[in-house]
Amino acid sequence: MRDFILKRAASLILPFIFVYGIYVILHGAVSPGGSFAGGIIVGLSFIAFSTIYGIEQGRAKLPEKVLVWTESYGTLWYGLMGLVGLVRGVPFLANKLAGVDLGTPGTLSSGGLIPLIGLGVGIRVASTIVTLFFTIMEEER
């Protein structure tokens, strides 16, 4: 696609979409949305980028290697957050019991480990949906 207006508009909007996705991921515990929805939004910003600027540009932004890494280690990150409980001598995936400060209700820190866990899930969802998109697009050619 060689549309000047589309490209300019996208270059203005897409960074905000990306940041908004991260916001939704992190605030899953205190607001609507969550890591899955946020991950989709983040992934969508990359998908929109690749449709507007071309697959090659998108691939250059997110090479296959990066996608493989984020996809597996995003999930692993979730597991590692679960281990925090184990290390503190309480059950797997414990949050407050593990001695995490829960702060004031309604703020980001009130989720304890949840925003961090959500970050792992969000990264995984984003890279999965981008991988799916690239796979489908490359199959068509």
Binding site: W69, S72, L76, G82, P91
Partner: protein, 497 residues
């Protein structure tokens, strides 16, 4: 450190394979490392299972209850490593020799390094899901694990670059998804009338409310039995199994037939006995239906296996028949029959893994699929064929091999239940089993050996076959602790009956 591991064992046996699975993908280039890590993951799982079994068996803590995140039972997810859970965790150990067999020779069957890595990832996910099914006591958790296992299975079936495998995987995917949906519906109905997802609490509540809503309960039982029936290839719902299990790469066939199907059956047992309870089953005559389907499954599966020319397809149909034995045992509603079914589940896991791996080794060496073309293979590949023979004798149920003890207890169980037809089906199944496996062995040993050079597989493959064959014999000669565990699990499941 040891106290830390001991205190968290039930969750560690589940997450160890999962952790390793997610470390693997970026390492795809270094295939040796991937193989070693995958084996390590499975061995860690088995080691944890053994430790857990030692804790439960010595009565230090029985059952070993673990609350995820520290949330107590009706709210949080509970992992319970009781006799049944530990028993199945030990059965999941079959994944170790199968993985050993895969070492170094998967590339020929599956393709490049990346595809091999993908295979190991899916394999470990499946092992983790199976371990989870063994210990979980939460119904929704069961559903999630069932999904993880199903999707991994589909990936394993289609791991080979082979159009028929892709087709089989697609059929399997659709039918298995249907099964998951039915299971989820059943769980939803139970949740609707009990308000609990924890199996123990749901069972308590169900025993109070089922009289008020018998139709909902009946619907839930039917959805769960049919849903898990599709996944476990219960007789009329088995159509996907022969294609899927015969076109998968050999280690995948071994794990799918040996283990994956059993995971769903363990979940079914947990639902039937742990949630609905024997009294309810009897009320709705579910046990009669199970026995009937099991018996018909034994006979039909065996006859269908008899008509197959291709060795792996013959083994796949035989799995349908063996699932029949297990389902039949679940329906007998007495401790002997249920213990027999559970022991048979373990013995079939080992036996079918042996048979599929041996068949895979023969296929790889000779390139011949059909039984007829494998004449004389016994002289060329002595170790492979010896393992195949031991597995076959075990499956037929000769004394001194593990299949015998399971079948014997199933026979005693049907005698105890006062049923003649199941006993006839069990015996007829054995005879038919001999009819479809013995010709393979006869042709392999007594036909003249062909000119071609068919070598035995490499060292890890031989070791895997020998380990599995040894397990078949050991379980048959000294079933001791394993049988004890099965009996204890059966007694606990039928405790309130």
């Amino acid at each position: 450190m040891t106290t830390l591991i001991r205190a968290n064992l039930p969750v560690l046996v589940v997450i160890a394979p999962l952790f390793v699975a997610f470390i693997l993908p970026p390492l795809a280039r270094r295939i040796r490392l991937v193989e070693a890590l995958a084996l390590l993951g499975a061995v860690l799982g088995l080691g944890g299972a053994g430790y857990l079994a030692s804790i439960v068996l010595t009565q230090q803590e029985n059952p070993f209850i673990y609350q995820l995140g520290g949330w107590p039972a009706p709210w949080g997810i509970e992992l319970v490593a009781g006799s049944l859970g530990v028993f199945f965790l030990l059965v999941v150990g079959v994944s170790v020799p199968v993985l050993l067999f895969a070492q170094g020779n998967l590339a020929a069957e599956v393709g490049g390094a990346e595809r091999v890595t993908r295979f190991y990832v899916l394999y470990l996910l499946l092992v983790g899901a199976m371990a989870g099914m063994a210990v979980t006591n939460d119904m929704f958790n069961v559903y999630v694990l069932v999904e993880v296992a199903t999707l991994s299975c589909c990936g394993l079936v289609s791991a080979r670059r082979y159009p028929r495998a892709a087709e089989a995987a697609f059929t399997y995917l659709i039918l298995a998804t249907l099964g998951s949906a039915l299971v989820l519906g059943g769980i939803g109905l139970i949740y609707l009338i009990t308000g609990h997802l924890n199996m123990g609490f749901a069972a308590q509540e169900l025993s109070r409310v089922w009289l008020a809503r018998p139709h909902v309960v009946l619907m839930a039982v039917s959805l769960i039995v049919v849903g898990f029936g599709v996944k476990a290839a219960l007789f009329p719902l088995h159509v996907w199994l022969p294609d899927a299990h015969s076109t998968a790469p050999s280690p995948a066939s071994a794990i799918l037939s040996g283990l994956a199907v059993k995971g769903y059956l363990i979940c079914l047992v947990k639902f039937l006995y742990g949630v609905f309870g024997p009294t309810l089953l009897q009320e709705f005559a579910v046990h009669r239906i199970l026995t009937l389907l099991g018996g018909v499954g034994i006979i039909t599966g065996s006859i269908l296996a008899l008509t197959q020319e291709e060795l792996k397809r013959r083994l796949a149909y035989s799995t349908v028949a063996q699932v029949g034995y297990l389902i039949l045992g679940f329906g007998l509603l007495n401790v002997t029959g249920l213990a027999g079914a559970l022991f048979y589940l373990a013995s079939h896991a080992v036996i079918k893994a042996t048979l599929f791996l041996a068949a895979g080794a023969m296929l790889a060496a000779t390139g011949k699929r059909n039984v007829r073309d494998l004449a004389g293979v016994g002289r060329k590949m002595p170790i492979t064929m010896a393992a195949f023979t031991i597995g076959s004798l075990g499956l037929i149920g000769l004394p001194l091999f593990s299949g015998f003890i399971g079948k014997w207890y199933l026979l005693l169980g049907s005698w105890e239940a006062g049923l003649i037809l199941p006993a006839v089906a069990i015996l007829a199944g054995s005879v038919l089993c001999a009819a479809y496996l013995l010709p393979v062995i006869r042709a392999a040993y007594f036909a003249p050996a062909p000119e071609e050079d068919w070598p035995d597989p490499g060292r890890p493959q031989k070791l895997a076959l020998l380990l599995l064959a040894a397990a078949v014999v050991i379980l048959g000669v000294r079933p001791g602790p394993f049988l004890e565990l099965a009996q204890k699990a059966a007694a606990e499941l039928l405790a309130f009956y």
